[in-house]
């Protein structure tokens, strides 16, 4: 049996989960018309780091995440995860989608179990691990429910552990809480942080919510538009573990101001383009 503690141990010793993005550009081609979405992105992420990508709509956050996941091929440049170049999607990079993405024909348990089943993990070990994770996010009771019987928050919790149960090097999250109400969103943020504290998986978290980025991240990379690029990197030195009350502290508010100024210019630019 592999417990969360053992996974944590393993990660601490091997330091799995470094990400390096080198001179990455993505150009979408539509008949005779080229749309440069990302332009020479440079980004280095340490194992176990929690990085938030923050930027206005359309700046290419999802595109960058999709390239790291291996869903999209870059026009130039490359991505290394643990020194290995990315050519296609794989179980070493877990992904949490903005849309509810559980398979409707599988129960919560079966959805979370799927990755382990594909890897050929034995039935007994699968059950043990999946139940461990289901308990961790309070979904054990709902393990036999189908997705349509779960609330949006429950579905996203299941999606998160579906990715994490495979012990990926990196967890990629594309605005996973954007569709949730404010109350649920705060709960999910705290839950995510507490799981991350245990597992210390590298996380790349896309959001356009400044507060969310500060609350979660070790570092915030703000992105600019036309073309999409990393505009600034702002470290977040707020102490961990973080709680919702921390969002009212002076440090938090100062940081919010700083990030806001950084983003504003780009948001204006992206609005003018529309």
């Amino acid at each position: 049996m592999v417990t969360m503690q053992q996974i944590e141990q393993e990660r601490r010793t091997t330091l799995k989960g470094s990400v390096q993005v080198e001179g990455l550009s993505v150009v979408y081609r539509r008949k005779q018309y080229e749309n440069g979405v990302l332009d020479s992105i440079q980004l280095a992420i340490q194992p176990g780091e929690f990085v938030c990508l923050l930027g206005p709509s359309g700046c290419g956050k999802s595109t960058l995440l999709n390239v790291i996941a291996g869903f999209i091929k870059p026009s130039s440049g490359y991505v290394l995860v643990d020194q290995t170049p990315i050519t296609r999607p794989g179980a070493d990079r877990g992904f949490v989608f903005q849309q509810y993405s559980l398979l409707p024909w599988k129960t919560t348990f079966q959805n979370v179990e799927m990755g382990l089943r594909i890897q050929g993990v034995s039935k007994a070990e699968r059950t043990e691990r999946v139940n461990d994770y289901l308990n961790r996010v309070g979904l054990y009771k709902h393990r036999n429910s189908y997705p349509h019987q779960l609330s949006g928050g429950m579905q996203q919790r299941a999606s998160i552990i579906r990715a994490l149960v495979n012990s990926p090097s990196v967890l990629l999250m594309d605005e996973p809480f954007a569709a949730l109400d404010a109350q649920t969103r705060h709960m999910m943020q705290e839950l995510l942080l507490s799981i991350w504290d245990d597992l210390k998986t590298t996380v790349i978290f896309v959001t356009h919510d400044i507060e969310e980025a500060i609350f979660l991240g070790d570092r915030i990379c703000t992105m600019g538009v036309h073309p999409g690029r990393i505009k600034s990197e702002i470290p977040v030195h707020l102490p961990r573990p973080r709680h919702f009350d921390d969002t009212l502290s002076q440090d938090f508010i100062d940081l919010h101001r700083r990030v806001f100024d950084c983003i504003r210019e780009e948001t204006m630019k992206s609005m003018e383009a529309c």
Binding site: A69, G70, F71, R88, P89, G90, A91, R93, G94, F95, F97, Q99, S101, L103, P104, W105, K106, M114, G115, I118, Q119, Y146, P147, H148, R162, A163, N166
Partner: protein
């Protein structure tokens, strides 16, 4: 005053009954469905008995009562051989069509090569009505029985094939579902069996339901080839001998069996897909 309240007027009583009847009908689905049948046959009987003649002429049509009498006569004879012959033909045709339609549909939806190599001729054959196949069915098959199975097969095959293809294509087109599989480490086989097949199940199921109805739809055509037995055969035979009530009886029996077997397929499909939620306006 008190007398008035404890003894409501006759009109009030009638109103109350009407109200109760109305709520009973509005609440009770089987009752509403039964009501639609009663209305259907009732209106038909009335139109027949007044010899209704405006655009549609009811003067020469058998009335429900005449059809009922013909049915009694048929049922007290030896009806089972007819039922059994027809059911066998339909089920054989349907079974082959289901297997071939789903299998080919999945392959066409999944592999472009298979699509290119099979669909052009099938698209040409698809619009040809079953009745046009009668002469060829006689030439193509060693006996009439096989020919009849072939005609019912044709009716069921195309809806099943097309629905399966569309189901597979639309699941493959769902980027998020496919990506979910990919970043769990799924290879094409996993994606096929865990995502594409379950994802196209609703569409395949509707193809199977429509196909079942269509197999019955083609029964009269098929049984033009029959020598002695079959519900479709009786219908056709009665037409040749200008005996009208049994024609309508045959039509209704085919309708009834078609509706029942479509319903059975639909039920079975729903039982296989407990994850689906269907919420309609009441």
């Amino acid at each position: 005053m008190t007398v008035m309240v404890s003894k409501p007027s006759p009109m009030g009583w009638v109103n109350q009954l009407a109200m109760t009847a109305r709520t009973a009908i509005l609440q009770n689905r089987p009752l509403r469905q039964l009501l639609s049948l009663v209305l259907f046959f009732g209106i038909w009987q009335i139109l027949s008995s007044i010899n209704f003649h405006f655009i549609i002429n009811f003067q020469f049509l058998p009335s429900p009562l005449e059809v009922f009498r013909a049915t009694i006569k048929f049922m007290t004879g030896n009806p089972w051989i007819h039922f059994w012959s027809s059911i066998q033909r339909v089920l054989w045709g349907y079974a082959i069509a289901s297997m071939a339609g789903v299998l080919l549909g999945v392959l066409v939806g999944w592999f472009e090569v298979v699509e290119d190599l099979t669909m052009p001729p099938l698209e040409i054959l698809r619009p040809i009505p079953a009745v046009a196949w009668i002469p060829l069915a006689i030439l193509m098959f060693p006996n009439a029985e096989t020919g009849m199975v072939y005609i019912t097969f044709l009716g069921a095959f195309f809806p099943i094939l097309i629905s399966t293809i569309k189901g597979v294509e639309s699941t493959l087109g769902d980027t998020v579902l496919i990506r979910v599989g990919q970043c769990l480490g799924a290879n094409p086989w996993h994606i096929f069996k865990d995502i594409v097949i379950p994802g196209s199940m609703p569409s395949i199921a509707s193809g199977l339901t429509i196909g079942m109805g269509n197999a019955w739809f083609c029964l009269v055509t098929a049984e033009i080839l029959a020598g002695r037995y079959g519900i479709g055969y009786i219908t056709w035979e009665s037409y040749v001998t200008s005996n009208y009530p049994p024609i309508v009886m045959g039509m209704l029996l085919i309708g009834l069996m078609g509706a029942f077997s479509s319903w059975a397929v639909d039920r079975a499909a729903r039982a296989l897909m407990p994850w689906r939620v269907i919420k309609k306006q009441s």
